[in-house]
Symmetry: C2
Subunit: 392 residues, 2 copies
């Protein structure tokens, strides 16, 4: 891969690597590693000693309570991973088979997969060049032209299917503009499930991401700001929805003094106690982790002043970001050395990650509806995530 480059480009690459080395030091750099400095081992020992390792256990209850206190969500249901949380939230949202759900084209594939698991159709939207999240102005224009209201529901003029909801993603930890989302959802009667997989610790003003709509979904995968090995959670302020989610996530088992009855199709989606134990310990040190990550971002901001040919994504006025993954966007005219930059970083033991292939172009999704993708197409091959471990 890569191609011959000019001396000017060579200098840019060297400046980029130097900037990263100034921030992160000389060691080999991965994208994001967990940071265990608290009670992780103690709590794991306690699980083994108590014999409670599976999905019934005190750490699950405690982890959910801690998340509830931190995010302000009235109900929290811990799940086996973030994809399961999204699937469960969509499944329990009142959706019907073949309803469409709006989502950004720029997100991890799990967002769209979860829609498909629930029998629904992903409908891809363009993103903003500013924060890489759904561009709500563009989406409003698009929906005004391409949908109509039938019996109060938003209907796709072309496919005649109902557009049931929207899954905005707080990409790389950057909060969306929640008020714009709420106005749009209200105008088109859309149910909101937020993909907050990457945004634990990120706030819109003083509101935690994932708490604006029906549900928000977190992830605690190994590469997230805190981890439980594998894990996720649903946040919701809607009590009856929470009750339904709990029921479906525990194989829809009915409460009965002795009979083992299940009353609808259910899933085996609850987080095990040993994973929750790690989560509790991680949450206890969360403020320290977040502070370290915001500090890392500040240092990146300083050093990248020497690289005016790229833009480091920053939190918006209304946002307080967890800066899960520091992200740079190359200027439009720099796209041509994308592969060289990747290659040279790799040679220098610096793992930088390009953004995912836009979901609307993947072969299992390209037949589904999408809005215009001017920004997405323009951004493609210009976005990189930088090493962002909290201990850097």
């Amino acid at each position: 891969m890569g191609s011959n480059i000019t001396a000017t480009q060579e200098k840019k690459i060297n400046d980029f690597i130097l900037a990263i080395r100034q921030v992160c030091g000389k060691k080999a750099l991965s994208l994001h590693e967990p940071h265990f400095t608290g009670n992780e081992v103690n709590y794991l020992k306690d699980c083994i000693k108590s014999n409670y390792v599976s999905s019934i256990g005190d750490y699950v209850v405690k982890f959910e309570r801690m998340l509830s206190e931190y995010t302000g969500a009235k109900n929290v249901i811990a799940t086996i991973n973030g994809t399961a949380a999204l699937h469960l939230a969509i499944y329990c949202s009142g959706i019907s088979t073949n309803d469409e759900i709006l989502l950004p084209s720029l997100t991890f594939v799990g967002t769209a997969n979860a829609i498909r698991y629930a029998g629904a159709i992903p409908h891809f939207c363009d993103v903003s060049k500013k924060d890489l999240n759904i561009d709500f102005e563009l989406l409003d224009d698009y929906l005004r032209l391409n949908t109509e209201s039938h019996s109060g529901f938003c209907t796709n003029k072309l496919t005649k299917r109902r557009i049931f909801g929207i899954i905005p993603v707080h990409l790389y930890g950057q909060p969306i503009h929640v008020n714009k989302l709420l106005r749009l959802a209200s105008k088109y009667n859309l149910v909101i499930v937020e993909d907050a997989a990457e945004s634990l610790g990120s706030f819109y003003n003083s509101q935690h991401t994932g708490t604006a709509g029906l549900a928000g979904c977190l992830s605690f995968n190994g590469n997230k700001i805190i981890t439980t090995g594998g894990g996720g959670a649903i946040l919701t302020n809607n009590n009856s929805f929470a009750k339904k989610v709990r029921h479906i996530s525990t194989t829809s088992k009915v409460s009965h003094p002795y009979k083992l009855i299940h009353d609808e199709l259910g899933y085996n989606y609850r987080m095990p106690n040993i994973n929750a134990a790690v989560g509790c310990a991680q949450l206890e040190t969360f403020e320290k982790i977040k502070k370290a990550k915001r500090g890392l971002h500040d240092r990146y901001q300083t050093v990248f002043e020497s690289c005016p040919w790229l833009n480091l994504v920053k939190e918006q006025d209304y946002a307080n970001s967890n800066y899960w993954l520091n992200t740079v966007v190359l200027n439009k005219k720099e796209t041509f050395f994308y592969e060289n930059l990747l290659e040279r970083c790799k040679e220098n033991d610096i793992f930088i990650r390009p953004s995912w292939e836009p979901l609307h172009t993947l072969k299992m999704f390209c037949q589904f509806p999408s809005s215009g993708m001017e920004n997405m197409n323009s951004l493609n091959e210009r976005i990189f995530n930088l090493p962002s471990s909290p201990f850097l």
Copy 2:
């Protein structure tokens, strides 16, 4: 619950409780607790220290290798739970939407759920009074009368749907008669996915359960013979199937030097490293656990000689069982004191568990096809699982 009982019945209940107390001692008895006597804590510590807690990690590789060595399966893919393993195995088996899959009516709901997740139709079969597994003679009679062969496929005469496969379950650890299964599957051209969730350590002659067909699925839920908190695994001797399962279970991510591409609908189903770490430690002590459980069964066998009104399920001639859950079947005429027996055991801090409600009667499944259920109906409210923890 319960009703007035006669002095004779009262004596039977007392004999039953006395028998259990003779075997298990005076403590409060749960159904099945894990037994951690090995390297569990050491391996967990090692995970936390190494920062590898998620689904990429040495313990996942080691756990799969250990399972492969123990079961003889050429390929093992560790998953987040047994239901995910079943779903994945069915999903990758070549099945089409609305194909039917045969399964026993007497099993955990996960077996049927997994079929539904894959878009297929459960077709319920009657079980044998001898081992509580699918009765292959009855099933052969049923299929001969109710199916016909079209282009080599077995077709349900009534629904006109293809019967694609069969999921036999090694219930409570008791191995099915594998040769009978193979003959039947060959006769009707059925793909075999074994539900071996409960039968790690159980053999048909010298062949480990779960290795006779396309795939076998294990579970390591907290109540199983060994546990990983939550977890499962797919066993298969088919290399190309294993490759497909690995691909789909890791969100169908394509191998590429830097691009993040997914080429088909995938799942996030891999076991995290911390769960696998517990699994490795558990497997190291497995022979001890299995020996303890077989010893427990022998003691139950001795004491229940005083209760000729029930039958303790024993391994068949061809079987070596892990005796995951010791199981008794009340004689037909004893059904009437089912609730009293449950109630009195509960009062005595003895948890005995009745069998699941037959799946073909649950409201989300009762519209699906089923064979005659003479044995299943006769067995209902007569089956109990006894306390079976390995340390008893």
